[in-house]
Symmetry: C2
DNA sequence: GCTTGAAGCTCTAGCAACTAGAGGATTCAC
DNA sequence: GTGAATCCTCTAGTTGCTAGAGCTTCAAGC
């Protein structure tokens, strides 16, 4: 029990990640297991803060758990080339761009539908008609 | 067993929705229950084709199951006003736009990270560093 | 030292929207 | 009548958490 030890609530407040989520990350092996007090409560050190911050940032950027795992593994090998990391980031950027494109199409369709509707009875509703037709 | 009856595989092929998903939609009440043959196999009619197409289109546009349920309910009341439908569509359009905005921010961050990386050792990798820092 | 309330523990179940697989029954064409 | 294709039900898995029940531990104040 060093002075720098944090209980799960402290770590949660410091990183902005919920306690339940921190436990979950421990369970699935994303975050190394914490030390335990005699009573069984988790104690975290500075390395956990760092790692959890890394994980959080990855998740905010939309990386999947598997991606995060891979990124962590690479990041741990300090003298490896960072090509793999860059590759992962690029791949993810592609995914994000694909999603963006899809959403933009959706936006257009929805906008069209919303504009096409001028009130009236459902029977004549252009939105409903647009939804009922396949191309 | 009318001539127009479809077995689940036929309906799947005709609509592009998988058989398992069709059964699932029946289970959760999105699609009305099909008639059954003596042996217990499902038989669908033209109304099912229509409704499933509607559902599929909604899902493609990103509407949630609850939204789809609401849209179907409204669409069924042929002489109601279509204001509620338009309202749902507008609300969904907002959601889509919010997602777009988030993704665009992500895209920028990722792009920046990818460009910042010029190869080298992990230890110096700007991507890893960007991921490790909270703002 | 004792009390008390906050914070922690484990375990289970739930969310959305399907998808996959096991193991068996039905249907249909030949 | 046979064999292949299709269908049936049921269960469990996916992703990434989140909520709750019921119990224990910790830390601060008296």
């Amino acid at each position: 029990m060093t002075q720098s030890d944090l209980r799960i609530g402290d770590l949660a407040r410091r990183t902005g990640v919920g306690a339940a989520t921190i436990r979950y990350y421990g369970d699935i092996g994303l975050l190394p297991e914490a030390g335990r007090s005699e009573g069984g409560q988790r104690h975290y050190g500075p390395s956990h803060v760092e790692r959890l911050t890394f994980i959080k940032r990855c998740r905010e950027l939309g990386f999947s758990q598997d991606d995060v795992r891979a990124l962590l593994t690479h990041a741990d090998q300090s003298d490896a080339s960072c090509e793999d990391v860059a590759q992962l980031a690029k791949k993810h950027l592609e995914v994000v761009r694909a999603k963006l494109a899809t959403l933009q199409v959706l936006e257009n369709s929805l906008e069209y539908m919303v504009h096409a509707c001028h009130g009236g009875r459902i029977e004549d509703c252009r939105i409903v008609k647009a939804l009922a037709n396949h191309d």
